[in-house]
Symmetry: C2
Subunit: 103 residues, 2 copies
Amino acid sequence: MNPEPFLQLDRVIHEKGRLAIMSMLAASPELSFIEMRDALNMTDGNLTTHIRTLQESGYISISKSYQNNRPHTTCSLTPSGKKAFTGYINLLEQIIQQNKPKQ
Amino acid sequence: MNPEPFLQLDRVIHEKGRLAIMSMLAASPELSFIEMRDALNMTDGNLTTHIRTLQESGYISISKSYQNNRPHTTCSLTPSGKKAFTGYINLLEQIIQQNKPKQ
């Protein structure tokens, strides 16, 4: 077995919650905090922590504004985040092809 | 997006090191500790910890014997480990299909 694809899996994206967030953002130009929290059934604290980690890695950008006098936070993938996510998904595909159990 | 596949990903298998171990074992009837350690470039301590976690989850069985007067440890997937790994790979496939970024 070639262990390379495993070693290369991006730890920031590999965590289940962040994988879910990156996947949602890969499918939309931008999403609000509320949309993500409700779709993923996460707590505010959990989503905030994941978003901060993704932002610190340069994978998402965060925009804060007001809507109806209430704070409105939206997230979107940066070009670097798109590239990292595509690389991650390609690696997963390699792993699946390489390791599909024989039935 | 359907968050279900993410939520169902088995945390025991999802960790990168354990994913590599499970993949190796899915491809062989059994492997020795040394074979796995060298193929995956892990420390003894790291591999021991992962193997214990997999054993406690009922996913691998461990057999200890002696070869040339030296302890010889081998691991193999249990039926429950095979089932869990197949389920995990099927979920990954769903996630990839569902979330492949548009080029």
